[in-house]
């Protein structure tokens, strides 16, 4: 006989979707509990966004050290200690996870350690949590939000799954057992390209295999092309329109047979392979089938306020539809909770979710690509401004990059913005804000951008779209 503790809201999963939703719910006066089976902060904080940023920062500093001469500095024989680099990354993840724990406590959110599954309940499904000792406890709530996230997609049948040595997913790649001399990265989305950048900077011989015809395939084609050129210049090998057909482990290396563009097969041996071929939602063992929760290829189907087809049950973040980004999960969580609390939030506008890739050079974008804008029937005006024309970029020693803006020629709506180059991930919010406020080119042109900053390029790109660019 289990005793049932009851809450207004139970959230399953304490990643950036779940814990943010929990804090907001507590602020709104809901008695809230959050269930986490592993680490507070989820993949983002522990195995994703944050620790990879720590690794990439080390790579960036190392790169600067190697090029110290360019800045009039000397740094003889720069070197790195991979173990220390990884340790720093883990420390940062641990620090932030502790921060989440503090925030949840401060907001009086009950944290339940264990693995959750759902059973049919009264207003909403009941949440049964099994702790590490295997003991089960039942909890009930008027509302239950699933925020169980996602994990790396693997294809065990093709040998594309971690086997303990040669094949890594992101998780293994950020806690490496060796510094691989050669590395094959399968998939050129954000995750694949970030690891490719990291290991390439540390000197690994990196090959990236992409099934589609360009790297970073969700980005604007022009940005993809610039990115590929830059990656290749930094020593990466890139195979596009290429598919890994099988892998064969050897003694020290693993050999992948890759079908390339012309239908030819090419074998590439590498000490490690990183799998970055997408994600699958964590839908299993939650009891979703028994409840009749509608799913679509490992992702839970929800409406604009994150409601599933089962009353009282919601799902947010990577468990639901793309884009699979931490900030999307957080926003969905807040909107979902506001709705539960009886407020009147606006649904998340997916066109205004920026995407950032922290490779070198960085890539950031919001809104429609040029091709998507044209496909949607827009007559477009496109503005471009190169880093080469920006004083701050030159002073930073970062003359490579581009800021591209796409406007509707008729209405002046900023349809999309696409950037590649130093620190563009910090710049994109300016355009995102512009889109959210529905500015037109007129307000963007009137805005004063400070000199000397990289942000001036954002202004110039808009000016360029309307034939008023100054520094080109």
């Amino acid at each position: 006989m289990m005793s049932t503790q009851s809450f207004d809201l139970i959230i399953v999963g304490a990643g950036p979707g779940g814990y943010v939703a929990a804090i907001r719910a507590a602020q709104l006066g809901l008695k809230t509990a959050i269930v986490e089976r592993e680490h507070l902060g989820g993949v983002c904080l522990n195995w994703g966004c944050i620790p990879t940023k720590a690794l990439l920062r080390s790579a960036e500093v190392f790169d600067l050290m190697e090029n110290a001469k360019d800045f009039g500095l000397s740094c003889t024989k720069p070197d790195f200690d991979l173990e220390a680099v990884v340790k720093r990354s883990r420390q940062i993840a641990g620090q932030l996870s502790g921060g989440v724990k503090y925030l949840l406590k401060k907001n009086k959110v009950t944290v339940i350690d264990g693995t959750a599954r759902l059973e049919k309940g009264a207003k909403a499904p009941k949440v049964i949590v099994k702790d590490k000792a295997g003991k089960e406890a039942a909890y009930s709530a008027a509302h239950v939000i699933l925020a169980t996230g996602a994990r790396a997609r693997t294809i065990p049948a093709a040998g594309l799954a971690p086997e303990g040595k040669f094949i890594w997913t992101a998780k293994e790649a950020m806690t490496p057992d060796i510094m691989p001399k050669s590395l094959l990265v399968i998939g050129s989305g954000a995750i694949g390209i970030e690891f490719a950048s990291f290991y390439n900077a540390l000197g690994a011989d990196v090959t990236v295999v992409e099934m589609l015809d360009r790297v970073l395939p969700v980005e604007d084609a022009e940005i993809s092309a610039l990115a590929q050129k830059s990656f290749e210049k930094s020593g990466m090998k890139i195979l596009t329109s290429a598919q890994v057909e099988g892998v064969k482990p050897g003694k020290d290396t693993i050999t992948a047979s890759i079908k390339t563009k012309g239908g030819k097969t090419q074998n590439i041996a590498a000490e490690r392979i990183i799998l970055a071929i997408g994600i699958v939602g964590n839908v299993e063992n939650l009891g979703l089938e028994a409840l009749g929760v509608k799913t679509d290829r490992t992702h839970v189907v929800v409406d604009e306020f994150s409601r599933t087809n089962v009353p009282g049950l919601y799902a947010i973040g990577d468990l639901t539809a793309p884009p699979w980004l931490a900030h999307k999960a957080s926003h969905e969580g807040v909107i979902c909770v506001e709705k539960i609390a009886g407020n009147k939030p606006h649904a998340l506008d997916h066109g205004n979710i920026p995407g950032c890739t922290y490779c070198r050079p960085q890539v950031a974008s919001v809104g429609l690509t040029e091709a998507a804008a044209k496909d949607a029937g827009h007559k477009v005006r496109v503005g471009r401004f190169p880093f080469m024309g920006n004083g701050k970029a030159i002073a930073l020693g970062e003359p490579e990059g581009l800021v591209k803006t796409i406007f509707d020629a008729k209405t002046g709506e900023l349809l999309g913005a696409h950037m590649i180059g130093a620190e563009v991930t910090e710049l994109i919010q300016g355009y995102t804000l512009g889109r959210t406020l529905e500015t037109t080119e007129a307000e963007l042109m009137e805005t004063v951008f400070p000199h000397p900053t990289l942000s001036e390029m954002m202004h110039e790109s808009v000016l360029d779209a309307y034939g008023k660019v100054i520094h080109v």
């Binding site: 809901l30 709506e413 500015t439 037109t440």
Partner: protein, 419 residues
């Protein structure tokens, strides 16, 4: 707990209205009895008084919001000692009736309206409360993109409801209304038309007139009245009383004559109800006043007890406030008899539709010189045709004719009205 200020029902039948204007701002200290907002109903603009006191913490429905359902939470008041954090989590969905005291229209005149028994049935508002995007100071909240889209499509932004933060008009709002012809101010094309949105008054007129014309068996009775004596009397009175600022109109005489005739023929001062025929004790004479966008019928109460000067002053005041849409519901509801005068517009005679549940309505035509027969002589007199439309369920032909006989006597012998 913050106090919820609800959209008041200004009359028993009011279901929604326009929150015209806030007279206080967020942060203002409010005392019970303070006038805090103006509400427009289908026919009038009224002031709303606060019932509770406290600090106005949040205005939820901005000024110039249309179709605000009765009992919608329009603002939140913080009691002494509460701070803004108390607002978090306040459920602002419409509460059940009588949950919280509703502000009262001012001044609350106690008189109950006759004939109308229905009470409002406010339903909880589902989803977003429509918010007009005009903030305090009449600045239209609209995104630059929406402004441009509206301009290009020739849309009137002031008629678009914003769904963005704080009622801001955003792209989706403009896109949403673009196909509506009503919004277009583009040059008209052959076969095109302007669609004028139905406002509260138009809806009320449509519903009430349709109901009356469909359900009430109307019949008209017309009689001619000579006005020469009345005009002479009027001239004399107005000359004599000019220093007192009195100027009696023909219509004032007609109202007085109707009131007196109704007392002579009380069966005409009546209403049909399923329970029985109501013979009203007072002659509460309603006067149809054309106003911008429709008409309204303010009532001269107990007109049988009022002299010409009193009627004249009262009608002038009521008509002026009617045109400004400032009448209280009890000032235009519940008359027992209506006078509609189109004489000044040159109409010779017409038959009005009965203003239910009244039993009769008098339609007054123009006073004009007409050939008349005096004995066997042909002469000229100033003659006015009046038509009494009767509800046959309560006023039979003989009753109507009897009323008109008395009416004609009073009009043609104005001195009798002095009694």
């Amino acid at each position: 707990m913050p106090i919820k200020i609800l959209m008041p029902a200004l009359s028993p039948t009011m279901e929604e209205g326009t929150l015209a204007k806030w007279l206080v701002s967020e942060g203002d200290m409010i005392n019970s009895g303070d006038v805090i907002a103006e509400i427009e109903t289908d026919k009038a603009t009224m002031e709303v008084e606060a019932v509770e006191e406290g600090t106005l913490a949040k205005i939820l429905i901005p000024g110039n919001s249309e179709n605000v359902a009765v009992n919608t939470v329009i603002a939140l008041l913080l009691e002494e000692g509460e701070d803004k954090s108390a607002l978090d989590g306040v459920d602002v969905s419409a509460p059940a009736q009588n949950d919280t005291p509703t502000p009262q229209p001012s001044p609350p005149k106690g008189k109950k309206e006759e004939g109308v028994k229905s009470v409002p049935h406010p339903e909880p508002v589902e989803g977003e409360v429509p918010v007009k995007s005009v903030a305090e100071g009449n600045r239209l909240k609209v995104s630059p993109l929406a402004r441009r889209l509206a301009k290009e499509a020739g849309l009137d932004l002031s008629r678009i409801t914003g769904t963005g933060p704080n009622g801001r008009i955003v792209k989706r709002d403009v896109e949403g209304v673009a196909p509506q012809a009503s919004m277009a101010v583009a040059p008209s094309t052959p076969g095109g038309y302007d669609l004028i949105a139905l406002d509260g008054m138009r809806k009320t007129i449509a519903a009430r007139m349709t109901e009356s014309f469909r359900d009430v068996p109307h019949f008209p009775l017309t009689i001619d009245c000579r006005l020469d004596a009345l005009l002479t009397a009027r001239k004399a009175i107005n000359e004599a009383a000019a220093d007192d600022g009195i100027k009696i109109s023909v219509n004032d005489f007609i109202i007085r004559a109707c009131a007196l005739a109704l007392k002579k023929e009380p069966a005409a001062n009546s209403s049909y109800t399923p329970e029985g025929l109501k013979h009203w004790h007072d002659a509460d004479v309603a006067v149809a006043v054309a106003i911008d966008g429709g008409l309204i019928t303010p009532v001269v109460r107990q007109a049988q007890h009022k002299g010409l000067a009193a009627i004249s002053t009262e009608v002038k005041d009521l008509a002026a406030r009617a045109k400004a849409r400032k009448l209280m519901p009890e000032e235009y509801q519940g008359g027992t008899f209506t006078v509609s005068n189109m004489g000044m517009m040159g109409i010779k005679s017409f038959a009005s539709i009965i203003n239910q549940p009244q039993g009769c309505i008098m339609s007054v035509g123009a006073g004009e010189k007409r050939p008349v027969v005096n004995g066997d002589e042909l002469g000229i007199a100033i003659v006015m045709s009046v038509t009494l439309t009767c509800d046959h369920r309560v006023v039979d032909g003989a009753i109507g004719a009897s009323f008109l006989k008395y009416f004609k006597q009073f009009i043609e012998n104005p001195a009798m009205m002095l009694l």
